[in-house]
Amino acid sequence: MNILIPHTWLLEHLKTKATPKQIRTQLSLSGPSVERIEEREGEEVYDIEITTNRVDVMSVRGVAQEAAVILDNAGIEAELKPLKLPKLTELKPHRPTKSLPKITNQPKHIKRIMTVVLSGINTTATPAWMARRLKQIDQNVHWAAIDITNYITHELGHPCHAFDYDKIMALGGEIIVDEAKKGERFETLDGETYQAVGGEIVFRAKDGTIIDLPAIKGTANTAVDENTQNILFWIENMDAKKVRFASMTHDIRTVAAQLNEKHVDPYLAEPTLALGIKLYQEIVGAQVASQVHDEFPSKKEPQQVKVPLKVFERYLGLKLETAVIIKILSRLGCQVKQAGQDLLITPPTYRQHDLKIPADFVEEVARIYGYHNLPDKIMGGPLPLKRPDNDTFDLEEKIRHFLADVGLYEVYTYSLVSEKLALESGFPLESHLKLANPLTDDKVYLRRSLLPSLNQVIATNPTHKDLKVFELAKVYHPKGNKTERPEEVMILALSFRAGYRKARGIIEALFDRLFIYEYDFVLDEDQNKAKIVAKKESRLVELGSISLVSYQLRSTQDNKDWLVNAQIDLNSLAQVIHKHPRYQKLPKTSPVIEDLTFAIPKKVRVGEVIKAIKQTSPLIQEVRLKDIYKDRYTFTIYYLDQKENLSDKDIIPLRKKIITHLTYDFDCKLIGQMAS
């Protein structure tokens, strides 16, 4: 939470000669972070980030208290000024007195209530000095009777409220603490209506009407307005969880709610009430018209914590003098006693929810001592050696570099996709994990395929006519059993705006680079898709697939193109790769190389033809597709015998065998005359 603190307002609580810049630097190094100093209404205003554990610093007084210790420790003179407030015990109610409403508390919900009736309220305008400060801290200016409560909250950090006293009395003169029932309605003072979900803490009138959403926001039926003559100035300290529950449920995030949900110190109620009385008297001419009502049923004293002195050394890596530790903690409001090798520390009431365990006190000492005063080193000790089982990081890096080097663009696309992209994955929409609270329509489902996102990347770059992209990322497959986490699988996905041979060639080259020796592309029933498989020992591992898809590349209807898509499961791939090649002795003989051209009928698959040629003889070392012209395919054939050089005498029968096989079994026709 950020808080705005005008410099001169701070100086009302802090006696120091430090410049705003010094205050900024020192506070940021040892306390709350001053993010910037802004000029507002002609004055420096600090914008300070206060962490959720330090509700005690979420006020002008709180920052001053913190700054006094930090500045002083940094060698800049600073001192917290005492509060000058009327003594509550000495207040004499003005006659005629007004009776307080009957208050029925539930102590488990409300830990403290302080209230007083103030009479003679005028609809006075907020004085200029207060209006200026409220503007500096981004608060709206209404009129004094209301603005005083906001001003006090900012100054001291305890929220407070002003009820219209006469409205409360007209409703029966009672305030009953209760839990709301489901479906009950209430209207807040800004005119919004809400329906209770049940369990919110509310105040009721005698007849059960909800007359306040305490610690969060007032209701319209008891709100101060321009006709208000008497107010019930009210402070309650409510159970933080209950505040949080109602505030989050109805999304009413007032300053009061944000403070009260973080355990505001109930002991702050006294100065808050006193300051309220003082300001109402001074500004709107109010008079105290009742006794001060104070019920504090669940008074909780801070717990003493035993902190062994060695804990400080354990965290800081150096030994501080005990006196230094005690001095710092005492300045921060702790009571410290030394008992042998332990310190017995009692935190101040305003920090009892924040300082509970030894490490909490270590932090206090260390930050004030100054983190910059600690040396730097890198830990020695044994190194962990056990790597995770699913470690494919090296493989991924190799793949990335190879693909980028051969011309592909690596992309990062969102794991969250729209309904349209989810459907393009080929999986039914309802089989996707869906967000309960998506922010935008285009990011609702956790994707089960990367390909729709990649194709979209190609579509968003229409002028790049031979764009080839890839991504390494997870897909998310829900499991049948709802009590299991989804399966997250690392996938290499590729999309090519290029011919099939080029696309497949890149994958083949990658496989060669990864020393995968036996792999194949096996045609699926769907003629536009093939499975990619590879051998691991004697079994086949399915790695993924390659397919042709038609894709809308631009917004116009007729501009379709087709893309080659491929996806490979990283974990499967990891099973079939090798980190180094299988070395083969260099051949002592040379291969005989020749080209053969065949006309291949449409119904015959060229992949099958190549396999057939290869299988003709173990002497055929390699068959490469050299060229395609219409239905004519030229193959380059490498004949090799490791023992002796092959001669025409050896080649002729092999060649004949190939030609016969292809002619009779595949209906192919040899083109051109071969030398016999």
């Binding site: 962490t51 600690l374 968003t460």
Partner: protein, 362 residues
């Protein structure tokens, strides 16, 4: 009878030399099947038998001379002048590009691997327990507000077991049928998962992964990357954390860059810190030539959070907080990367826009 052979040999050698000078040597003309040497060699049959041995020697010498000259020539090929214009631009091979986030991740991994960190990968769709509860963040705690969390639309199986700060493992996912499923808002779910994997220290982990938060503007995307470091062992102190951060800052940004830690609050670390790196433009002074530094405004860049692992988190991971201490840190990859000199990318959505014009710069 050797004279004719000798004089012809001389002629052939002379001819070869002339050709060499002209730079148009055709070696088959001399040494080919129908070349001049072959013709010369055939003349041996005109030599009387008693002189043949001598003739043979001569011919062999000639062959050697020819071969040597040819070989020498091949070693220093002459380039015809003016045939190649050296101002012609080169033909670059078509290369692609690694995404900048990959480049950053690789660099970050390398830096930490060098000091013994092991890179890990954990779920991105994980139980609330690992993402929040095991990290000392009870259900509905205000500290959770900072993490704009995406929830998966699935029933929460947590049931009736109450959260207990002293025994965080009471509501472990394995005991409650999972619980609530969320998208990881940070990489810190890896902390307890890594403790569970290794069971006991030493732990030196680096986890780099996708994270998700319900926010979107020029500096926030709904998905982004974080890297998380975790070190747990005996005698780990704030000094080790400071040293590690400084080491990273110098390796990643340059030897002149410094790091510093300032107080902060996270529920899962105690003490907690905010981590700043000094600005490489102004050298941490906040000023360039007397004017405010445009990049950092204050001399420092705030990059992320860190802290000493909270005893409750160690307990949640089954590690004895009385025996071991540790530190953790976590930052955004995108932010860390764009603070490098010359990479002032003002809109981080660019990283996920995947425009070729953007990608090809990396």
């Amino acid at each position: 009878m050797l004279d004719p052979i000798q004089s012809e040999a001389n002629q052939i050698i002379k001819q070869l030399e002339t050709d060499l000078e002209k730079g148009n040597l055709d070696q088959t003309k001399y040494l080919g099947k129908r070349g001049l040497f072959r013709k010369l060699a055939q003349k041996i049959k005109d030599v009387p038998p008693e002189k043949r041995q001598q003739a043979g020697k001569l011919i062999n010498q000639v062959k050697k001379t020819l071969e040597t000259k040819v070989r020498q020539h091949l070693k220093t090929p002459s380039i015809p002048t003016n045939s190649i214009d050296l101002t012609t631009p080169g033909e670059k091979p078509k290369v692609g590009h690694l995404h900048p986030i990959s480049q950053a991740i690789e660099e970050i991994s390398r830096i930490f691997e060098r000091i013994g960190f092991i890179r890990v990968r954990y779920p991105e769709v994980d139980w609330d327990w690992y993402v929040f509860e095991s990290l000392n963040m009870p259900p509905n705690h205000p500290a959770r507000d900072e993490w704009e969390t995406f929830f998966v639309d699935r029933p929460d199986t947590t049931g009736e077991i109450e959260y207990d700060e002293r025994d965080p493992r009471k509501r472990h996912p394995s005991l409650i049928g999972g619980g609530k499923l969320v998208l990881t808002t940070h990489t810190s779910n890896s902390q307890v998962r890594e403790m569970e994997r290794l069971k006991k220290p030493p732990i030196r982990m680096i986890n780099i992964a996708r994270c998700y938060r319900r926010q979107q503007d020029a500096t926030h995307t709904q998905m982004f990357h974080q890297f998380e470091g975790l070190v747990i062992d005996k005698n780990i102190t704030i000094q080790d954390l400071k040293g590690t951060l400084n080491y990273f800052a110098k390796k990643f940004y340059g030897p002149e860059v410094k790091s510093r830690i300032r107080p902060f609050h996270f529920r899962f670390t105690e003490p907690s810190f905010e981590v700043d790196f000094s600005c490489h433009i102004c050298g941490g002074t906040g000023k360039v030539n007397g004017k405010k530094c445009k990049l950092c405004k204050s001399g420092w860049h705030e990059v992320g959070g860190a802290g000493m692992v909270h005893p409750n988190v160690l307990k949640a991971g089954g590690i004895d907080p009385d025996k071991y201490t540790g530190f953790a840190f976590g930052w955004g990859v995108e932010r860390t990367y764009t603070l490098k000199p010359g990479l002032n990318i003002d809109d981080i959505r660019q990283f996920y826009g995947n425009k070729v014009e953007f990608l090809k710069q990396f």
